[in-house]
């Protein structure tokens, strides 16, 4: 991992902790801010991917995967923007859905890394499992037991957990294969 990536991961981790604190202090405004930032970043990523496809990746073997990624990200961004105006419960369920999805992606990537003998797959796999389990547990608590406050605090804890994992990852030694 390059210094820039380490700094980026550290920064994202710290921002996640700040969000968690905002949610605890002012839950009603905090959720809108978190959802709005998520929406904007997804939209930016989607535009970047589509621009990359039309200027570069359309010439590449397998380049269509880039345009699919861009469209899915754009779709998620639009969905996120529509959810912002709805009630707090929907926002938090949506955020939990995104959280569970990123956990599932982490698990899949960890399994892929294991298949290729790449080191450090265990941490990624465990963090993915924890993210999915937490999201599932909080959703059940919120939907079936009406424990919305518990849901908010649970989400904050899970946010802090993933932030800590990211910060730990930023300081870990990594091995890179390069060809001379």
């Amino acid at each position: 991992m390059k210094y820039w990536h380490r700094i980026k991961n550290l920064g994202i981790g710290l921002i996640c902790i700040l969000f968690a604190l905002t949610l605890v202090i002012a839950p009603s405004q905090g959720f809108y801010v978190v959802a709005m930032i998520l929406c904007i970043s997804l939209f930016g990523y989607a535009i970047r991917m589509l621009w990359y496809y039309f200027t570069m990746a359309r010439h590449m073997v397998g380049g269509k995967a880039i345009v699919y990624q861009g469209i899915i990200a754009l779709d998620l961004a639009l969905f996120a923007s529509s959810v912002i105006s709805m009630s707090k419960v929907y926002i938090i369920l949506y955020l939990l859905g995104v959280y569970a999805f990123s956990g599932a992606i982490d698990m899949l990537r960890a399994m892929e890394a294991k298949r290729f003998d790449a080191p450090s797959w265990k941490l990624k796999f465990v963090s993915g499992c924890v993210m999915v389990a937490v999201a599932a547990a909080l959703s059940i608590l919120g939907l079936f037991f009406g424990a919305n406050d518990f849901l908010v605090y649970g989400y904050c804890v899970s946010l802090v957990y993933s932030a800590v994992i990211r910060i730990v990852g930023a300081f870990r030694r990594t091995s890179v294969v390069f060809i001379q």
């Binding site: 210094y3 010439h59 890179v176 294969v177 060809i179």
Partner: protein, 385 residues
């Protein structure tokens, strides 16, 4: 290519071109040293960092991929390891300038830049000849890849088959840096797939692993830039061409040939040992040093000392400032700067800033590059034989 070819095979080619044992060793050492002359090593011996001819694993991990960082990477890898074939090339389909500039950096043998590389070494030091031989050899091994990080050019996909006498075998790629390649089972290590255009994972032939560096390897795959057209890479044939072209080039450098023309190979020089050569080139082994060493010793009748990275470092470090350029590494540094400047200049003049500004441009004469300019002026005079 690995040290087996850059050191021992270059020695053999130099011998067959008519150089003495000592001269051949100097050329071979310089050719091999290109893969070791990193900024880390240069800072250790207090030499100009702009003379780096390679980047080590840790350096690449820390390398920035912003515009300036990419220029630094491209200058090094395009100048010494992936010499661009055609800087005026146009892709078949209409494309953006950004794509076209990267497409133009794809390496292939027998380019106009290769001719210029060999001519640049003419009348210069043995170190310059060694650098030119490294560049020449790599144009064969690293063909179809570009010396700049690029997903759209250097990426490969799952369609990758080794061509064996008994038939095709799908290659399994893994990303374990510590596990050695396993040619018996067609299992090789490659860089991780990273969906970012300028990721260091997409530099050169990283996505194809070390396959281009093994003389025995024959394989087919779909290069990212190739529009789904299959490419067959026949390393034994390419390495044979590289070897015979090195002999031809070094005969030109020695003055035995008046010109160095593209697509010319001295096959006569190896005619009496052709079978031996073929045996080395087809043997499935990760390191062919022992075989090349035996081949070289049969040509010269003298023992070839093993490559020792440290052997010339003290000489350079301890030399007074005014005598540094006449040391072994001093001459290597001057030759490396001349080569880097020549390639960077051509890339710049093709309308691309991917390798940065050459010293003779208005931008290049500003700031830090002034240091490079002073050294380069030394290269023009001090690097001569």
């Amino acid at each position: 290519m690995n040290a087996d070819f850059h050191y021992y095979a270059t020695y053999c080619a130099a011998q067959l071109a008519g150089y003495s044992h000592a001269e051949s060793l100097d050329i071979a050492y310089s050719a091999c040293f290109v893969d070791f002359c990193s900024k880390t090593l240069l800072s250790k011996i207090k030499a100009p960092l702009s003379a780096a001819t390679t980047q080590l694993q840790l350096e690449l991990m820390d390398a920035r991929t912003d515009a300036a960082g990419l220029q630094d990477i491209t200058r090094i890898w395009s100048s010494f390891h992936f010499l661009p074939y055609n800087l005026q090339a146009r892709p078949k389909r209409r494309c953006s300038k950004k794509y076209r500039n990267k497409f133009r950096l794809i390496c292939n043998p027998n380019s106009a830049l290769l001719e210029e590389t060999v001519r640049l070494a003419k009348g210069k030091s043995l170190q310059a000849a060694g650098i030119a031989m490294h560049v020449l050899a790599d144009t064969w091994a690293h063909r179809y890849f570009a010396g700049t990080p690029s997903l759209v050019i250097n990426n490969t996909n799952a369609y990758f088959y080794e061509l064996l006498p008994e038939g095709e075998k799908k290659i399994t790629f893994r990303h374990s840096a510590s596990a050695p390649d396993d040619p018996a089972n067609s299992v090789y290590t490659c860089s991780l797939h990273y969906n970012s255009e300028n990721s260091i994972m997409n530099l050169g032939h990283g996505r194809a692993g070390h396959l281009p560096d093994y003389c025995f390897a024959r394989y087919k795959y779909l290069p990212a830039w190739g529009g789904y057209e299959e490419v067959v890479k026949d390393n034994p044939s390419d390495y044979r061409h590289a070897f015979c072209q090195m002999i031809e080039a070094m005969k030109f450098l020695r003055g035995e040939r008046e010109t160095f023309a593209r697509d010319t190979y001295d096959t006569q020089a190896v005619a009496s040992r052709a079978q031996w050569l073929e045996k080395i080139l087809h043997k499935r082994q990760l390191d062919a040093s022992a075989d090349w060493k035996a081949f070289g010793e049969s040509v010269s009748g003298k023992e070839i000392a093993a490559f020792d990275l440290d052997i010339y470092q003290d000489e350079y470090k301890n030399a007074p400032k005014e005598r540094k350029d006449s040391t072994f590494l001093g001459r290597f540094i001057l030759a490396a700067l001349a080569q880097k400047s020549m390639v960077t200049g051509h890339i710049f003049r093709s309308g691309s800033l991917l390798a940065g500004y050459p010293i003779d441009s208005a931008e290049g004469s500003r700031g830090k590059n002034r240091v490079f300019g002073r050294i380069l002026n030394g290269a023009k005079g001090g690097g001569e034989a």
